[in-house]
Symmetry: D2
Subunit: 343 residues, 4 copies
């Protein structure tokens, strides 16, 4: 068993980390950290547990640690981070300098030239950028990022379509409230309403997609030149981001070609990787957040509503934003880091 | 006062007709019709009143009539129709043959060559197609349609942008449940969920937009050649359709140019016409359905979130789907019919 | 394996039956029936599957049968019924006459003198009423009912409190929309709203509770004389009925006494029976529907918010209305019927 | 016109104050205060306006003042307060000492012996307690409170029933999220959920009801001895508290007697007082929050679902929690203070 820790273990994503890791076959939770207010308290007191499965016995009485390299045991090999982006850079750097490998869901540095931004099924080879990172930063550890939840939902489908020559993407998102954390969206804002703006989200989708779909040249990532134009909306759903996508393509695939491209897109042989990665629906009204967010234990991407357009295709895709789109994404990157010998 | 009737007065749109007409300065309700089950009952018994203002005293005890020309008094000059599209064609034709002018919200025949499909602020001159219609069909009456709620929300903004050369539109809709009528969307379908499909809605947006933006040549409508690609979603809001629009344009207007085009777009001098027609927001998170659907007493279109894209602009627009998008649209067409002498 | 059938397999409760039975250790699905419209179709076509786990492979391609004794194989030993109450009596009687044992969730005949109304943990001995039933009705089969979902949520807690002398109960329910079936509550009725009335529900809670808590004398049920006064509300939640209960008691138990009575209340040794039956919470804001409805795999009753009042106690209780409150209740009765040798 | 000010003008209740006061016939807004962060800014910048009518022109550009007696002009005669209860006592005392009359919605000191807690239609005569207050505290000004929103909803109906001898009340509340302010209830807490606890709410209902229904002896309030037992729930509605009430009575009134008592209960002749005060419904499924919260412009109490019980009656009542239950309640008290010569 690999001993792992969770930085920022009491928040919404932190609780998902614990839910996923507490039953993991290869990872064992050996450290939970939070802000200094919580340090020293048993986890069950420090966290207001709000996942709809009970708090795991294995963590309930574990004392929460300070979020510093000194506080975390040396035999921990891998850290998962869901720190607020305002503090993440400073704190994550400290751990990397101290020799820890950090698989982070925080949004800082995702576009940095020497930070691998990885979805294992899409661009596992970008992990080799760690060597560049260690050279440049002088770290024994390493920092790996997963993309934003709205990006993760779409990029596997774009990667599958890239065989047809991906030119341009328009995407409209219908995002669940859990993406903003426990107190991110107030009920007075969202009941009987939609908020047609999520700060910074459109830019994340536009840039992260290009880096993820890029080529690793051996020394750097050559970004894909796809032009993504996003419009992001918050809707009154709890979990599951649904996205309407139009992809302009060089080729002219049929609907059947597109379904085949989705269904054939290769997964990864990792404990948390779903098989298939992309689940498809013939019914025009699927996928739907509440019905389909738990496909592949929340790690699959669902796709449907495929139609030809004059210059490509349109379709809908969906993923569970706090599992595949956040905690599960970091765990999957952790599994890849272990398998490929980076720990 | 012009004496008017409502065909299909007990449903969701029918109740909105009554709410709007009961306080109208120029129209007086003189006939309410419904299915034969309801005929003969006082309106307050026939309709399960579900609007959040009390049932108007002026209609509460009025007996509901059969939906036939024989049952409706001869001195009624104008009929508003919100009949189910399955029966609307047959019934509406009967009234037109009997000499009634029908302003209809039903979806049948919207694309027929001799049926005016009208938004008064966009294409009031299309009303002259009534002469063609009367010639061809031998009617003394006339049949005029307003477009679908999702189309009405977007087309005023497209009309305003057409000065920049409108080429192509991608639009994603977030539509309220009231658009499907009282029992159209069950709570088990939509709570904590989104349904990424509304039967026939995408086609309506794609065709109706082209007809509305077309030119009346004197004998027919020359449809606009804009290519609209729509993706329609039902979300858990009660009223108000929000739409994310990308418009590809020949010219390259700035954000300020687009705001000016929206703000300058001319309204109509009709009792129910809002002024301005398009209300704009600088705040990136507006318009929102719950906060902005009642602008212009539910008859305005709200727009915001304007951004340049490589080939045009993206923005969001919003309208109240059962007022501007249904009952209010028909009433406004009725006001235009009266002003222009068609009654 | 006992071969079982589901009568009315395509509806909301029917789908829950299939979800629960498809992974059952002792029961094997051998017949699925529905209305004649669906008969002959594969189940996956006949049912619009709406549970958030995929349709089980074992039933997807099974042909749906007519709901008649002739259509159901003779080697089926136990039938679960979720027929609409309007047809249930006639149909269920037909099956009982033909020798089938029917565990029914339908509301008809729950108060009939010779029909056992059973919650296994509360009144398993009432099952002996089957002998009276067979004598009186001349059946080889048998008909057993479980109570209404709102009754099941409360009665285990009342049974636990009866040691303190149960006199009078006031109960206010906050019931989820799934209790009314897929199309029972429209979204326009319930979004941003509460409906303070559910037809017949208050009477069900008042009478069923007295029968369930009654004594079987050997020939009949001597109903408990507790006076229950219920007020039933529909709220915008999907699953999980929450109830505020005030119980007037002869004795004067402390809060600790009440917690102990709940925690000590004995369960049953049956495959679907949860252990403990009643899960308690110290936190005053629990149980909550979304967080706690899946306790005991949806078969537990949760209780919390216990406070003393001048004449007894008040508390809150919760159960999953379509599992413990409907399909799971019938399955549990089926397990009891098998264990006690009634099949 | 009486010149009035609003203390704490930027919050949810503060915005309701401004919505109500900006069109008031007798009151003119002359001062808006907020925390020192907001002081000096135009109101439209200091407040994130979230009411669904546009921000009134008359206040949009008014500079927000510090919440101190020095900052408020001397010619302001009446202040409305919706300060957080943590700071309200200190701040309100400062204004009262400086000679201002304060009509406050804040929860502090509602049960103080010399502070009038008033619903004008129920206990207008309690206002004479101001003389005691001035004597004891040495103030030139005065402090008057309105009760909590959940109390206001119920007490007019209890006052109407007191003619039958009110003994004991059980009440279960289904309260809207706006009662907790803009950020009080997060969407992740309440979507698809109910929270069966609102801190301090049950105690408020139990004590405030007794004070409101009490008798003013000339020197103090002799509290009513009714025993109220409340259970308070937060539900996913925006506005409008619904309450299920059981009232035990000495007499045995019929349902008709109860309706008559509600309908005959006298209102007040004040600008914001609705007529009738209590609107009744025969339909068993009314009142409902979304349909009925705006009765009497949000100032009426709605009642329905009346049934006899063995020892009294049960019924449902409803009021708009931020109008009748908060800002409107304070404004109405302000109107009473003016009419009765206390300004």
């Amino acid at each position: 068993m690999t001993r792992v820790g969770v930085l920022g273990a009491t928040g919404a994503v932190g609780q998902r980390f614990i839910q996923l890791l507490s039953s993991h076959d290869d990872f064992e939770i050996a450290a939970l950290t939070a802000s200094s207010d919580s340090a020293g308290k048993p986890y069950k007191e420090a966290a207001k547990w709000r996942v709809d499965t009970p708090i795991p016995d294995s963590v309930a009485d574990v004392d929460v640690l300070e979020t510093t390299p000194e506080a975390v045991p040396n035999d921990v090999d891998l850290l998962f981070s869901s720190l607020p982006s305002s503090v993440a850079e400073r704190v994550e750097h400290g751990f990397c300098e101290a020799g820890y490998v950090v698989s982070s869901n925080s949004s800082n540095e995702r576009n940095a030239a020497d930070v691998p931004l990885v979805i294992p099924e899409v661009n596992a080879d970008h992990l080799d950028l760690i060597e560049v990172q260690r050279d440049e930063r002088g770290w024994d550890g390493a920092l790996v990022k997963n993309p934003n939840c709205s990006t993760i939902t779409m990029v596997p489908t774009l990667a599958a379509l890239d065989r047809f020559g991906l030119d341009r993407v328009h995407v409209s998102t219908l995002q669940a409230v859990s993406g903003a954390g426990y107190s991110g969206v107030s009920s007075m804002e969202i009941l009987d309403n939609v908020i047609p703006h999520i700060g910074g989200e459109e830019e994340k989708m536009e840039t992260e997609s290009r880096k993820l779909l890029g080529e690793f040249t051996g020394s750097e990532i050559d970004w894909h030149d796809v032009d993504v134009s996003a419009s992001c909306n918050r809707v009154p759903t709890l979990d599951g981001h649904l996205e309407n996508v139009w992809a302009e393509l060089d080729d002219d695939p049929t609907v059947e070609d597109v379904f085949a491209a989705f269904e054939d897109y290769a997964g990864q042989d990792l404990p948390s990787a779903p098989s298939p990665l992309i689940e498809t629906f013939e019914e025009p009204d699927r996928p739907q957040p509440r019905l389909d967010r738990f496909l592949g234990d929340g790690m699959a991407v669902a796709a449907g509503g495929v139609q030809q357009t004059p210059d490509g295709v349109q379709y809908n895709c969906l993923a569970h934003n706090t599992i595949r789109g956040a905690a599960g994404a970091s765990v999957l990157n952790g599994e890849l880091l272990e398998r490929d010998g980076w720990l």
